[in-house]
C-alpha cells in the first residue's frame, strides 16, 4: 500500500465515523420534540425546570406506567385503569377496578393535560404530580403495594437499572427518580388536537358547523365559568348538587376536614367525553344525557352547593332538548382522536 492509499482509507474512515455520530442526533431531532405547550394553551403549572422531559426519561416513565410490578402481586399496571383508547380512563367502570377484583369508590380520571393541573384526585389531597402515583400504588383497592417494595423489585431487574441509567445518568433507583420518570410520561399525555383546538388555532381552515357554533355559545353562557377554556376546567373544587351517595363521599372535605369543603369535588375537563363515560366522581351517570338531566332538574341543595347552580331562585341550569342537541354538537368537537391514537403514548 502506498501513502496515497492510506490517505484515502483515512478519509473513508473519518467519513464513516462522522455518519455514525450524525445519525442518532438526526433521529432525536426528527422524532423527539419533548414537551411542547400548545399555542392555544396557557403556561403550564408543572415546574419543568426541576424535571425536564427527556426522551430517555419519558421512555422509562412509559415502561413504569405499564409495569405490573408496581402492584402487590404484579398484576395491575397504571394502564389497567388508565387506558389510552379511553383517554386514559377505565371506560365502562363506574369506580376503578383494582387488585384482586377489589373496587374503589371513585371513577378513574383521565391522564390528560396534567401539566396544567394544580390539584390531583377527585377530593384533592395531592398537589404535586411527582407525588401523585404514591396514592394508587399504596391504595388497598388499587395496587396495594408499598413504594419501598416497588423500588426493590425494579432494582433487581436489569431492564430498569439500564433505563434509569440512560434517563438519569446512573443505575441508582430512588423515590425521586421513579416519581419523576412517571411524571415525564404523564406530562406528555397532552390532548390539544381536537376540532375545537384546530378551530381556535385556525388550522387547516377548520370552522364550526352552525350547530357546533350555537352549542359553543350555549356552552359559554351556561358551562364555561367552571369548565373554563381551553382546558375545560378551572381546576377548582365545587359541589355540583349531586345527591349524596350511599357511602356519603364528602369529596374535598375528606382531605381538608373543613366543613366548607363538604361535597366539593374537582371540576373535570370536558375534553374527550366520548371516550370517558361514565361520568361524575363515582361514575353514576352512564350517558351525557343523564348529566344534562342532572343539571336540568336533579340538582340538590346539599351543603356548600355552588352559588352558580342556585341563581334566580331555582336550582340547576335549564337545558331544553334543543339546547342539549346543540351542546352535544359542540362537546363532540372536544374529542381528540389523535390523542387516543398517538403511537408515542402507546404501550410497546
Amino acid at each position: 500500500m502506498t501513502g496515497k492509499h492510506w490517505t484515502v482509507l483515512l478519509f473513508l474512515g473519518l467519513f464513516i465515523l462522522a455518519c455514525k455520530k450524525d445519525n442518532p442526533v438526526k433521529e432525536k431531532v426528527e422524532n423527539w420534540l419533548g414537551f411542547i405547550k400548545p399555542a392555544n394553551f396557557p403556561e403550564p403549572e408543572y415546574n419543568f425546570a426541576n424535571n425536564p422531559v427527556t426522551r430517555e426519561g419519558f421512555a422509562l416513565g412509559k415502561a413504569l406506567f405499564n409495569e405490573p410490578r408496581l402492584s402487590r402481586n404484579n398484576t395491575v399496571t397504571c394502564a389497567s385503569c388508565h387506558i389510552q383508547s379511553s383517554a386514559f380512563t377505565q371506560h365502562g367502570h363506574d369506580v376503578s377496578h383494582g387488585i384482586d377484583d377489589r373496587l374503589g369508590t371513585r371513577n378513574s380520571p383521565p391522564i390528560m393535560n396534567l401539566a396544567w393541573n394544580k390539584a390531583f384526585m377527585w377530593g384533592g389531597g395531592v398537589f404535586d404530580l411527582d407525588l401523585q402515583p404514591i396514592a394508587p400504588i399504596t391504595n388497598h383497592e388499587e395496587m396495594d403495594e408499598k413504594l419501598e417494595n416497588v423500588l426493590t423489585k425494579l432494582r433487581a431487574m436489569r431492564k430498569y437499572t439500564g433505563l434509569f441509567k440512560s434517563a438519569f445518568g446512573s443505575e441508582e433507583i430512588t423515590t425521586a427518580r421513579f416519581m419523576k420518570a412517571l411524571s415525564q410520561f404523564m406530562l406528555m399525555c397532552v390532548s390539544s388536537n381536537s376540532k375545537y383546538d384546530k378551530v381556535m388555532r385556525k388550522e387547516g381552515g377548520q370552522t364550526f358547523t352552525d350547530d357546533e357554533m350555537a352549542g359553543y355559545l350555549l356552552f359559554r353562557d351556561k358551562c364555561a365559568s367552571c369548565h373554563r377554556e381551553p382546558l375545560f376546567t378551572d381546576g377548582s373544587f365545587r359541589n355540583n348538587g349531586l345527591a349524596v351517595s350511599p357511602i356519603d363521599d364528602k369529596g374535598l372535605y375528606t382531605t381538608t376536614l373543613q366543613a366548607s369543603d363538604k361535597y366539593k369535588f374537582k371540576v373535570p375537563s370536558l375534553r374527550n367525553l366520548q371516550y370517558t363515560a361514565p361520568y361524575m366522581h363515582d361514575g353514576r351517570f352512564l350517558t351525557l344525557n343523564a348529566v344534562f338531566d342532572h343539571y336540568h332538574q336533579q340538582v340538590q341543595a346539599t351543603p356548600n352547593l355552588d352559588p352558580l347552580l342556585q341563581q334566580n331562585g331555582g336550582l340547576g341550569i335549564s337545558l331544553s332538548m334543543e339546547t342539549r342537541r346543540q351542546l352535544m354538537a359542540f362537546l363532540n368537537t372536544l374529542n381528540d382522536t389523535e390523542f387516543i391514537n398517538n403511537p408515542l403514548l402507546a404501550e410497546e
Binding site: 389531597g125 408499598k146 376536614l257 369543603d261
Partner: protein
C-alpha cells in the same frame, strides 16, 4: 503501714486540690457566639409512660391511664425537626433545615438521639417542632430524602400519607381490652388503638395544622454547654401517657382510632405536655 496519706493534713490538701481542679473544668469561659464555630450537641428523646419505662406489648403488666383504662403499646414513632437553641443573652441558632429532621422510633434505641451541630456556647433554651414543618411538607420529591423519603418504612411503620400528601407526625398504636369489637372499636377483634396525628395546614386548600413548636427551658435541669471537645447531651423524658392524660384528656374506649379526624387537633394539643427536661450531660 504508714503512708503520707494517713496524715490528715495531707489528705485535706489533696482533696482541696482535687476540688479546685474539678471546679476549674466547670468554670470554663463561655466561648464567644460565632455562627461558624460549630460543635456537637445531641438531644435525647427518652420515651417513658407515666412513672414507668417504655416496654412494648407488656400484657402481663399493662399501663393504666387517668381514666383507669389498662393498655399496652405496640408502636411509637414521631418526627422531630427544626431544632433551635438560645443562649441566656438571647442569641439563637437554628440548625440547617437539611440536617434537622429526625424520626424517633420507640423500638429502635439508636434513633433516640437527634444529633446536630450548633455554635459553641451555653444554651438555656431548646426549641423544636414535633412533626414536619409546612415548608418541607410541600417541597419537591428530590428534597424528601432519608427519613422523609415517602418510600421509607417497612410494613406499617411508614410515616407518609400518599392520598393526602403529608407526613404523619406522631404514630402511636397499642391494645386495650376496653376497646369494643364493633365498628366503633376494632372490628378485627384485636382490640387495637391507633393514633396517627398529621396535618400541616394544607398545600393550597387549608386544613388543620397540628404542627407543634415545643420550647424547653434548660435552666432548672442544667444548661447545655456546647464545646468542640465534648458531647453535650440534653436528656428529655417524653411521657406518652400525656397523650391520654394531657389537658384534653380522653378515654381510649371512646376514641380508639384517630387519623383523619378533627379530633387529631385535640390530641395534638396534649403534645405540648409530652416533653420534660430531666438533665443535661455536658
Amino acid at each position: 503501714m504508714k503512708t503520707i496519706l494517713n496524715n490528715p493534713r495531707v489528705l485535706v490538701v489533696i482533696c482541696a486540690i482535687l476540688t479546685l481542679t474539678s471546679c476549674s473544668k466547670k468554670e470554663d469561659i463561655t466561648p464567644e457566639f460565632q455562627e461558624t464555630n460549630l460543635a456537637p450537641l445531641s438531644v435525647e428523646f427518652d420515651n417513658i409512660v407515666g412513672d414507668r419505662t417504655l416496654t412494648f406489648n407488656n400484657t402481663a403488666n399493662p399501663y393504666i391511664n387517668a381514666a383507669g383504662e389498662p393498655f399496652t403499646i405496640s408502636k411509637l414513632q414521631y418526627f422531630i425537626s427544626n431544632i433551635k437553641v438560645t443562649t441566656a443573652q438571647g442569641k439563637s441558632y437554628t440548625v440547617n433545615p437539611d440536617s434537622s429532621y429526625f424520626l424517633i422510633k420507640g423500638d429502635d434505641k439508636a434513633t433516640r438521639f437527634a444529633k446536630v451541630k450548633v455554635p459553641e456556647g451555653d444554651y438555656t433554651s431548646l426549641t423544636f417542632i414535633l412533626g414536619v414543618d409546612s415548608l418541607r411538607s410541600t417541597m419537591p420529591v428530590d428534597k424528601r430524602t432519608g427519613v422523609l423519603d415517602p418510600a421509607a418504612g417497612h410494613d406499617d411503620s411508614g410515616m407518609y400519607w400518599g392520598w393526602n400528601s403529608g407526613y404523619i407526625f406522631f404514630k402511636f398504636e397499642g391494645n386495650s381490652n376496653v376497646i369494643s369489637d364493633n365498628s366503633a372499636g376494632d372490628p378485627t377483634g384485636k382490640k387495637q388503638f391507633k393514633y396517627h396525628i398529621g396535618f400541616f395546614g394544607g398545600y393550597s386548600a387549608p386544613t388543620l395544622n397540628n404542627i407543634k413548636v415545643i420550647t424547653v427551658d434548660l435552666r432548672t435541669g442544667g444548661i447545655a454547654k456546647v464545646r468542640k471537645d465534648r458531647q453535650s447531651n440534653i436528656h428529655l423524658f417524653v411521657d406518652v401517657m400525656k397523650v391520654f392524660n394531657g389537658k384534653n384528656s380522653f378515654k381510649i374506649a371512646e376514641k380508639p382510632n384517630v387519623m383523619f379526624d378533627e379530633f387529631t387537633s385535640r390530641i395534638a394539643a396534649n403534645f405540648m405536655e409530652l416533653f420534660k427536661h430531666d438533665h443535661t450531660e455536658n
